[in-house]
Symmetry: C2
Subunit: 208 residues, 2 copies
């Protein structure tokens, strides 16, 4: 548990967001009541309104946190010593050790919410575009870019990576009792398979 901040107000905010994340993942945005969140956080209902204007603000704040997290993952991928390892980082970002399966349930619900809430849609679109640009750039700069099969462009490969990644995330909500380790193993396998398809040869043979 991270002793995240010296500011007690910020700590409260994060405590509320942590509780909200658990509730949202368990029940979804619109089935989660403010009472649920307050109970999960061990505080009173009213207190939430000291730190957030309303329920929508809680959802937005969490979407923002998700945005930061994705940016962080991209940064780590950018620093990876090889493109394959960058792939693996991107494919396993949601396999955090604690709270297994919470992230995927949340993200799927976030996309569903984006489908009807334009504000959330803008935010998710923004994250998606930034991530896509980052990975496109990552591929274009890599030494492997010279060996791309056929006339596939870096952008097309990035799109495929994200499609596969999102698709696995979506499937994940169907198997809630898989452990983080199992998920990581499985998704790493996906990354390797995609890699093999893209760069004709064993992974070790192409690493920089």
């Amino acid at each position: 548990m991270p002793v995240s901040s010296l500011d007690p107000a910020l700590e409260r905010r994060e405590q509320i967001l942590r509780a909200a994340m658990i509730c949202f993942a368990k029940r979804g945005f619109h089935q989660t009541s403010m009472h649920d969140i307050s109970a999960e956080a061990g505080i009173s209902v009213g207190l939430i309104y000291r730190y957030f204007e309303n329920k929508d603000a809680v959802i937005s704040a969490m979407a923002e946190e998700h945005k930061r997290e994705i940016h962080e993952v991209l940064e780590r991928a950018r620093l990876a010593p090889s493109l394959l390892e960058a792939f693996e980082i991107i494919f396993t970002w949601d396999c955090c050790d604690n709270a297994p399966h919470v992230v995927s349930a949340f993200v799927v619900d976030l996309f569903a919410e984006a489908g009807r809430n334009p504000g959330v849609a803008d935010l998710v679109r923004d994250v998606a575009r930034t991530a896509m640009d980052g990975v496109t750039d990552l591929i274009a700069r890599s030494p492997e870019a010279n060996h791309l099969p056929y006339d596939l462009q870096p952008r097309e490969i990035a799109e495929m990576i994200f499609a596969v990644n999102d698709g696995m995330l979506m499937r994940d909500v169907l198997t809630p009792n898989r452990t983080s380790a199992e998920r990581r193993e499985r998704q790493t396998q996906f990354a390797r398979n995609l890699w093999r398809l893209l760069f004709s040869g064993k992974p070790e043979a192409v690493c920089a």
Copy 2:
């Protein structure tokens, strides 16, 4: 618009389901009220309860309809003259001409619901497994199966196909104003790209 049935009771049922689908896609399951559905269908609230036990039953019935639709798509894919064409059918099944973008919004919400409603989860899991088995079989039986790159198994390829497909579906909710034709074009492109990655050669060169 299909004049689906001679039985007026069944017709009412379908009228309600059609209206519910529109509402669910627009607002999501839990933000859609029974009044919304009745207004969309042009009937009274109480009448819905003559044909469905409660709101959950409406959701389940629609998930069942989705199941039937997927099975139908699989059957069409099975009858396709080549594996590539089967791919294209699978990748574009949700690009129906009327009601653009309705399907993807609905399906993403369906998965989100599956994440918390075990009954829905069972149903979706069942559809997913059947579809996966069908496509695995499709690949294994195809003449191209002998040219699979590296040690990739038909099952792994099927998993990748569905991951890509689900991922695109998820992305789709972010661009609600794309037309069906644009979506079809884009997703066909995805199918072709995946095809090229899988079977090293131009599509035309490998068709049976």
